[in-house]
């Protein structure tokens, strides 16, 4: 397929110092069932080319859905015009070393192809799941959803780059809402990753449907989480957000360099913090790892042509490296990672997270619980907020159990906690072992101007934090 794109590239009579063509073809299917009935069944087929040129040290971009020679030729002319004018105001003199020649390919390992089930098969699967939830007395509303994304990225450039990335991503979610006397509680179960339809395990979905229904009903009768400073065990399905917001985003070089200051914000991290800042205790080890086959943001080459490798961001608690592609690395004069990514053909690449993982520790969940005299074990994110420098955060969870004298006791509703990033991570006391790890992530990480939403993965264990401010609902 890249041969067609190469032919187009060769046919361009372009006036730039360098041209790259990134063609993206996306097919996304979304299925949603509510209370046993189909609510949405849809396909998105999106295709276009981003023309990227380098002219007098300035990159210019033009995106077009017209992938034929004439469409790409016009887009190239436009990109050159933009770069020519923008070079009068350029922020940094970029060069070909920011777009190295790279050749390669990557494909998600898939056991069961997306087209092995029809739309009707998938809708039926979700209807059965939804019905299972609604069978529980007191459940007022159920939802089940599956999204399948088939993304093909082809890249060719005038300095000989040629690579192709074929990514299959899946996302699923189910929810149960219990309601009574003006009060309601919801429980969800969700997951995502890179794989085929092998995730559609009917027994597992049935078990989870029963579990979330029972827990939603349990929460309806539960008291609010107490407002107190106590120990906190965070389950992986909340750790995902904790890592994403308070480690991933502040480490992005484009934030530290100020590109993002008008939108998502700046960062409390300064360039001089790398190699010195104690982010957490020795047991905290965080990596950028695009090599985990089933994790949402795995790939071999980023959109700037940089080869993706696993790197330590935090090692033994000390901040080592930030998240920035080749452009940011030179601007900030620090080593980075391969994370220059765009959400689709219609946006220019920027520094993104990809997979940010917490390396497993040595503690079991039982070890953590038994070590706590007074605490709470929180599961599943439902509310998240953090400031523009990534300091003061507040998270809400769906479900929690108190821990008293080393044992799990009563269920509490509306569990939430707040803190400040560096003191919080320095209160980390135990990191879960490999058995507590879950691979998850987010399909919807928003950033950039113009705005982009991209997929990021987080493989994380359960963790215990000491002396955290927790609270409940009104």
């Amino acid at each position: 397929m890249t041969q067609d794109l190469s032919k187009v590239l060769k046919s361009l009579n372009q006036k730039a110092d360098w041209v790259g063509l990134r063609k993206v073809t996306s097919k996304k299917k979304t299925f949603t069932v509510r209370n046993g009935y189909p609510e949405y069944c849809g396909t998105l087929y999106d295709q276009g080319v981003m023309v990227e040129v380098l002219y007098q040290g300035q990159f210019g971009y033009c995106a077009t859905a017209d992938i034929g020679l004439e469409g790409v030729r016009l887009a190239t002319e436009k990109a050159v015009d933009l770069a020519r004018k923008a070079s009068e105001y350029r922020l940094f003199p970029f060069s070909l070393k920011h777009r190295p020649k790279v050749v390669g390919e990557y494909a998600t390992p898939v056991k069961q192809a997306f087209d092995s089930f029809s739309d009707a098969d998938i809708t039926d699967f979700l209807c059965l799941t939804s019905d299972k939830i609604n069978k529980h007395n007191g459940i007022d509303n159920s939802m089940a959803n599956i999204m399948l994304v088939d993304n093909s990225i082809e890249f060719v450039s005038t300095n000989g780059s040629l690579f192709q990335t074929q990514i299959n991503q899946i996302s699923y979610q189910m929810s149960a809402t219990a309601a009574e006397n003006g009060s309601s509680q919801s429980r969800t179960w969700s997951g995502n990753g890179q794989m085929g339809l092998e995730f559609m395990d009917r027994d597992l979905f049935e078990r989870k449907a029963n579990q979330i229904s029972e827990q939603a009903l349990e929460l309806l009768k539960a008291p609010n989480c107490p407002e107190q400073t106590m120990d906190l065990i965070v389950d992986p399905d909340q750790m995902v957000l904790q890592v994403h917001e308070s480690i991933g985003h502040p480490l992005e070089y484009d934030r530290i360099l100020g590109d993002e200051r008008n939108y998502a914000g700046w960062s409390f991290i300064k360039p001089e913090d790398f190699g010195k800042l104690r982010y957490g205790p020795d047991i905290l080890n965080v990596t950028f790892d695009p090599t985990v086959p089933s994790e949402l943001a795995s790939y071999k080459i980023d959109d700037g042509g940089s080869l993706a490798t696993k790197e330590y961001l935090i090692k033994s608690g000390i901040l080592q490296r930030g998240l920035g592609g080749l452009e940011s690395q030179e601007r900030i004069s620090l080593p980075g990672v391969s994370n220059f990514r765009s959400c689709s053909w219609n946006r220019a690449p920027i520094d993104r997270m990809a997979n940010i993982n917490v390396e497993p520790g040595v503690s079991s969940v039982e070890d953590m619980i038994s070590s706590v005299e007074k605490g709470v074990f929180m599961h599943t994110n439902k509310s998240w907020s953090i400031d523009d420098y990534r300091n003061k955060f507040q998270f809400g969870c769906e479900y929690a159990q108190l821990i008293e004298n080393g044992k799990l006791t009563k269920v509490v509703k509306n569990p939430s906690y707040r803190g400040i990033t560096i003191p919080f991570w320095n209160n980390l006391k135990m990191v879960g072992d490999r058995n507590t790890m879950e691979i998850n992530g987010s399909f919807y990480c928003g950033k950039g101007e113009p705005n982009q939403v991209i997929q990021v993965g987080h493989a994380v264990p359960a963790c215990l934090f000491k002396n955290i401010e927790v609270f409940g609902g009104a």
Partner: protein
């Protein structure tokens, strides 16, 4: 640009007709076109970081067949041969897959609501001129932000003869001005005809405001304070009414912050009036299905709930009359009526408390009780005896709108501000809000 609009309109009609003609006797089809020709200039430290032009148009086909519904969304290129082939393939796929789906009991058949055309041409500068006009005056100032510029259009056509077309040409410069101590002020200039004097006035307003932040920072401890929220902050509060908000579906599923007001357990201040107001002219009055709302829908009047947003699907499911809300039942043109607080009296009326210009990253912390959490951002000050004492370090808040739009609402400002929707996820948005500032008592700051 007149020819450009005509070309877009005529192509959409042509390709739309091609799709509709493929509809069989027991089938219905609705088409939604969303397109733009946009230039984006992203800048940092008043220099260009990235510059991008995007030409795109997406067609969403909703296909109804024998009580079953499915959708297909595709990018179109304005190359007729290629687009017809893509549409033909999409419709073939819809016809093949839809009949195998389970029936959709809440399916709403398409009707011919009407035919309309709304074309708002502007006087846009080209992107080269914009780089000079925007960046040259900034000089050595530390400004980060971006410019968006170009036409944007929407169209809705269905198999029953409905046909709506909306076209607008607009631009905005959304920016933040920083000083050397990381203090910042948010600026915005937008419209459909560039006026350099107005742009420079906005830059100067930000410079003057930023100068006030050079005073020593005040560390405000957590607690409850009297606080003024400028219109930009109120706009962020009101935007939350579109998520677990004033939606019949969210209320009926017991997942809305408006359940309590819907069930007559709570009400808001008699000073609070909130409506969906398409007279603002910020976007089309028709929704993604081409259904047309009334120009104004009173949602909260004198603090009491008058209406919630009801889509045609919710209408079918829950038996309440639709008011043209879109599928997600979010306000598309929210309007909060002004109050009596004069601009020049704001500091005096705060007395001792907080002046909050902007807020950031809101989320429901306890949705059923209407509790929102978020952060202060940009130019926020501690005020004592009607005088600014100094800028504050960012604070986290956690408070219910049943309080700050309810019995803790002191007043709303006499002036309102208009905020076009500047979201560019996937593509540029239409719509926007118009809101005043608010002065409130006992607002809770938690961290």
């Amino acid at each position: 640009m007149k020819q450009y609009v005509e070309n877009i309109k005529s192509y959409i009609q042509n390709i739309g007709q091609f799709a509709i003609e493929r509809c069989g006797p027991e089938e219905q089809m609705g088409l939604e076109f969303k397109g733009e020709s946009s230039s984006f200039i992203r800048f940092n430290r008043s220099k260009v970081r990235q510059v991008t032009h995007v030409e795109q148009c997406h067609l969403s086909i909703t296909f109804l067949q024998g009580g079953r519904t499915s959708h297909y969304n595709l990018s179109i290129t304005f190359d007729e041969v290629s687009d017809r082939a893509k549409i033909q393939s999409a419709i073939s796929s819809l016809k093949k897959e839809t009949k195998l789906l389970p029936e959709d009991p809440h399916q709403v058949l398409f009707e011919n609501s009407s035919v309309s055309e709304n074309v708002n041409q502007g006087q846009l500068k080209n992107v080269d001129e914009l780089m000079d006009l925007v960046l040259k005056p900034l000089g050595e100032l530390d400004v980060a932000g971006y410019v968006s510029n170009g036409p944007i259009y929407r169209a809705s056509i269905n198999s029953e003869g409905q046909n709506h077309f909306y076209y607008g040409e607009n631009f905005f410069v959304d920016f933040s001005l920083f000083d050397s101590k990381q203090n910042a002020v948010k600026g915005f200039y937008g419209g459909n005809e560039w006026n350099q004097t107005k742009y420079l006035e906005e830059v100067n307003r930000c410079k003057e405001f930023l100068a006030k932040m050079s005073m020593e920072k005040k560390d405000v401890p957590r607690g409850k304070y009297r606080a003024y929220f400028a219109p930009a902050a109120v706009n962020d509060f009101v935007s939350m009414f579109g998520w677990h908000g004033i939606s019949l579906k969210a209320i009926k599923h017991n997942r809305s912050a408006f359940c309590k007001i819907y069930n007559n357990e709570r009400q808001l201040s008699p000073k609070f009036n909130f409506s969906e107001n398409f007279a603002l002219g910020l976007g089309p009055q028709f929704n993604s299905r081409g259904e047309v709302s009334d120009e104004k829908i009173e949602l909260i009047k004198d603090g009491k709930l008058e209406n919630v947003l009801v889509s045609s699907r919710s209408s079918k499911e829950f038996g309440e009359k639709t008011n043209g809300a879109d599928t997600h039942e979010s306000p598309r043109s929210p309007y909060v009526a002004a109050g009596k607080l004069k601009e020049e009296d704001i500091l005096k009326e705060i007395g001792t408390g907080l002046y909050i210009s902007n807020i950031h990253y809101l989320n429901w912390s306890d949705v059923l009780s209407g509790r929102l959490t978020g952060m202060t951002r940009y130019a926020c000050f501690w005020v004592e005896n009607g005088e600014i004492v100094g800028p504050i370090k960012d604070l986290r808040f956690d408070e219910s709108f049943y309080n700050f739009f309810g019995d803790q609402l002191v007043d709303l400002t006499e002036e309102t501000e208009t905020f076009p929707n500047i979201s560019t996820y996937g593509q540029r948005s239409v719509g926007g809000a118009c809101v005043p500032g608010i002065l409130v008592n006992n607002f809770t700051f938690t961290l």
